[in-house]
Symmetry: C2
Subunit: 191 residues, 2 copies
DNA sequence: CGAGCGCTTGATTGAGTTCAAAAATCGTGG
DNA sequence: CCACGATTTTTGAACTCAATCAAGCGCTCG
């Protein structure tokens, strides 16, 4: 686990609101597909608000294997919350899956001092939602088969399914691309 | 840590304020080992602050298998954040692993309306930490072997290891009790 | 003090991985 | 806009780790 900011997923309405309160420290950027915004080991994580395009965060384990932690389409913020909350170097890479327009929030973007209470309060609810998503993910990883996980992913992230390579979805689900391919064939046969 | 109020790490003035806003809904209880506080399917979750003892939350999947989601020793609050944030019936059972003294917070305990903004802000950091823990857990579940997970659990929760049955630890790690037994044997042989 | 629960051990099974290679798709330059 | 090389996806076979099934041991607590 590299950074705490990557963990945060908030929706576009709230992100827009938050943006207004932070604009002084915001830096806009247009980046091509494949751009790496942050790498494992960097001392601090930043927040990346996606105006257009798609980012993802992921770790690379000691065997060199990638594990996608989250995707962030338009209107989302992606960051490494663990790095931020625990004040440790980030464990997460963040890169662009598509050509993207982003706004970079400085490393204190989630720091209470910078954010007006009423907005923090509303973003507090976002934190709860983020916890809810992670809770569900943990339960899925512990108890669900590859097929169940994929079905759940289809339901939960229909807007992402067709925009990212299969191998990244497989990585998000915690299985190999080969296993995902087999799973899809099995699902298709059922129908 | 004597009370829920201490968990929020707030000064006495704020504490008094918060206490006033919450006391109507706090209910103290002493419960024996095995008491089930909340069951899957109940429309609302509550918050349980552990003064003494140990609680856990878990799901039971369609094959009847238990999956421990978290443990809560002294000073922790346990609840179903997903149920609360998404306003859906709870998926989690919560019960007592040991005889425990608890304070029960009504189902709106995390609701911003009830809590003064400056206090909510301080608890915001706690939410971030909780997200950080879940982030780590997801990454462990995706990338680590049974042995690595167990080693990580030993490091992270030394205060819990000797207080809960092996089968619950196995369940928390996402493996069977048999596999945990084998894993421990392997670790022991190494030394 | 014995019945049941929890832990361990071993044998078998199975879902998913690894490895290899072919088929499909993508993207870039001419 | 096409063509060709690179990347991604699929398919298949062999293998691996943990799950399942089954049996025995040892504690505890009723």
């Amino acid at each position: 686990m590299d950074s705490i900011l990557d963990l945060l997923e908030i929706n576009s309405e709230d992100a827009t609101q938050l943006y207004a309160s932070l604009k002084s420290s915001i830096q806009k950027k247009t980046i091509p597909k494949g751009t790496i915004l942050q790498q494992q080991g960097e001392p601090h994580t930043k927040g990346y608000f996606v105006k257009k395009g798609l980012l993802r965060s992921y770790t690379i384990d000691d065997k060199g294997k990638e594990h996608v932690f989250m995707f962030a389409p338009e209107g989302w913020i992606i960051s490494d919350i663990e790095s931020q909350a625990m004040d440790v170097p980030t464990e997460l890479y963040i890169d662009a899956v598509e050509n993207s327009e982003i706004e970079i929030l400085d490393r204190n973007w989630l720091n209470g001092r910078k954010i007006p209470p009423q907005i923090f309060q509303s973003s507090g609810h976002k934190l709860l939602k983020r916890i809810a998503v992670l809770q569900k993910r943990v339960i899925m990883l512990m108890s669900a088969s590859a097929e169940e996980r994929y079905q759940h992913f289809l339901k939960t992230y229909p807007q992402i399914v067709n925009r990212v390579p299969q191998k990244m979805i497989a990585s998000y689900l915690g299985i190999t691309p080969e296993a995902l391919s087999t799973t899809k064939r099995k699902i298709f046969k059922k129908k």
